[in-house]
Symmetry: C2
Subunit: 404 residues, 2 copies
């Protein structure tokens, strides 16, 4: 049976338990690599960082390898002051004792409500159940245990070749609201058995995150806990990748990129209340950063996203968003806009000229669950694509009573 998760990769086990942070739901998970794995991480740029984020970040430079990712859901351990750090450390110590490793071999993550101390009275005693939860195909359980308002698990795995050996990569993610570049409330854990130097693993991850997880938006809100981690245990046996100009590095990077892009799109598609996946594709802007700025302004606009929800080809809201994006030199006379779905392509604005179109045809085209908004700025060669979802009443329903 295909294991489309982190346990697709030899040398990794995983498991999850009901610790009691949530009511009778899987809420605590572990990914375990007994041989130790070279690791890299990318963390939220929100200035308010949760205690576990700061804990992992502190290990990033000093700790070459790690053995455990612990991840709990239901409580973010953010804005919990000194207590938050002490709790994180206590968890790492307890895991180290149960798994017979050092505390520095343990990465700790959390997601959930901000500002409430972790329920340590249930977490600490639950940790001794973690080893027996581990299995060779436990990634699926982990992908469930890390969810909050997500409606679906997000998983992906590939097998590919590097230096004539078979290499595996597997990943899981969570994220549904507070999704915005720099990243959203999202966690992603990637495992691989490639052998690669730590600095190169970090470069590959940072580069891949920039063009994948940093190009999704659900609601413009970024979170305190976002974390992407990759663990590479080297068991594939390829000669150590140590040169960013090598074919092997590029092969691995391309696979990592595909994994990140795949997860990022799964997250956007499962945005809170989402009923459709929306790609905003900007071509021929003055530069790539400007193309991204324009695409993000459009993808973040509540008005554009509600129009997509209502199958409304209201391109006026798109051009208004372009106009306030902050990019200089916007000339409406050079802009073209089209909508695309599997039904077809509909050009609605042609170099500044509004086209007559059949509204019934537009509704039919937009009444699909995968929509592309094409924006041609007609300026130069800056291109960028970002991913989002439509905006439905359920977003409000979900977020108006998340705590209760």
């Amino acid at each position: 049976m295909q294991d489309n998760t982190v346990t697709h990769v030899p040398g990794f086990k995983a498991g999850a338990i009901k610790a009691g942070i949530k009511k009778d739901k899987l809420d605590s998970a572990i990914i375990y690599c007994p041989t130790g794995a070279t690791w890299a991480g990318v963390f939220t740029r929100n200035q308010v960082k949760a205690a576990p984020v700061l804990y992992n970040q502190a290990l990033l430079d000093s700790q070459e390898t790690v053995k455990v990712i612990y991840s709990s859901s239901g409580n973010a351990n953010a804005v919990t002051g000194q207590q938050g750090f002490e709790d994180t450390l206590a968890i790492a110590n307890e895991i180290a004792s149960v798994f017979n490793c050092k505390a520095d071999d343990v990465l700790v993550n959390a997601t959930g409500v901000i500002g409430v101390p972790l329920p340590m009275d249930v977490i600490i005693p639950s940790i001794e159940q973690l080893p027996e939860s581990l299995s060779e195909d436990g990634g699926k359980l982990v992908s469930k245990a890390i969810l909050t308002t997500d409606t679906k698990t997000k998983t992906v795995a590939h097998t590919f070749g590097v230096s004539d050996v078979e290499v595996h990569i597997g990943a899981i993610a969570k994220g549904s609201g507070m999704i915005h570049p720099n990243m959203g409330t999202m966690l992603a854990y990637i495992t691989t058995d490639v052998a690669i130097e730590k600095a190169l693993l970090q470069k590959a991850l940072s580069d891949a995150v920039e063009v994948t997880f940093n190009r999704i938006t659900v609601d413009g809100d970024t979170s305190t806990n976002d974390t992407v981690l990759v663990l590479a245990n080297g068991l594939a046996g390829n000669p150590l990748i140590a040169d960013t100009n090598s074919v092997e590095y590029h092969t691995f990077y391309e696979e990592l990129l595909l994994v990140c892009e795949n997860l990022a799109k799964q997250i956007a598609a499962d945005g809170e209340g989402a009923t459709k996946f929306v790609t905003v594709k900007v071509d021929r802007a003055a530069s790539e950063p400007e193309a991204k700025e324009i695409a993000m302004a459009v993808a973040t606009s509540n008005l554009v996203k509600t129009a997509m929800h209502g199958n409304d080809a209201n391109w006026g809201r798109i051009i208004a968003a372009i106009g306030y994006s902050g990019v200089p030199g916007v000339d409406e006379g050079s802009i073209s806009i089209a909508f695309e779905s599997r039904v077809g392509l509909l050009l609605v604005l042609d170099t500044g000229v509004a086209l007559d179109f059949d509204n019934d045809a537009a509704v039919e085209l937009l009444d699909e669950d995968d929509i592309v908004i094409h924006i041609d700025m007609g300026q130069a060669d800056g291109n960028c694509e970002v991913w989002t979802c439509d905006f439905s009443q359920d977003y409000v329903k979900i977020n108006a009573d998340y705590r209760s």
Copy 2:
């Protein structure tokens, strides 16, 4: 009877008709000052500006006085290319002919759907009905005719003293979605009979807009058509205000400020789908611009606004927004957060320490239609207050099928 609108001011008449842009609704309005009035204007900073906005802006420097504000709703005349400018000019010419004035005496405004040419076949013939629609108390009709998705008219009027003479000021506004600083889809028309130099009127208006209309947000979207106009016909007979340091200038400025603040708050309270008015008050930030940046990040957050809708004292979302606001040096350990309504005040975060609070009491406090979110940054003396509304499912309902 108190006329709480632009026709509160002697020398101004107003009226509105059903031109046929909308189906059987008031959609075309006029404010008329036969003696001519000194004027000032503030316009959208969106780079995509509607044709009438560009038309009025072009008149701002060259035209000392105007006699007519024409304002239609249902169609924004934005992104309509050369045709949009020709249509604006044709409207100004037709009004000039009907009112026996010059085209340069006429300001033209529009609000509504973007990218659709104005229905000139119904607009031009309707203009001859405008003179007979005028009345001494027609401001109320104008306040209705300019609405789009607004649920309420927005009006205010004061009488005050300058140099021992009685001076009047009256105003109307519209705006409900696409409301964000620099401004939203909003129109505001202010009349007064004060005698004031044009440059000072412009300064007073620009200063007042900066701290009122530029401090409201509904959905983070700014529009192509935003316009605030003030017309001062001088009929009060006060000695011409010509010095920004004079008591008279300050008296007038304070009244203008009150009028703008009052309208801005009415607009925020009537945000699309709004069920409550929310003030975000930031104190002791590093500076006033930083206080504004923080307040705006919080007031724009969909997650904060849905929490307010759900009576959820979820201050974690507030501190997350502070963290991504872009202001440097955010230290969660110095931040305090409280919620206030007429029920009372509830401190939930005290210099970085989360306080236990009774959730039922919090729900009772937030289940009011006027909420204040207090944020004390504990840094220096930068203060700012901005106004917004909660975010309900009706926002989505309204915007998912605005065109249909």
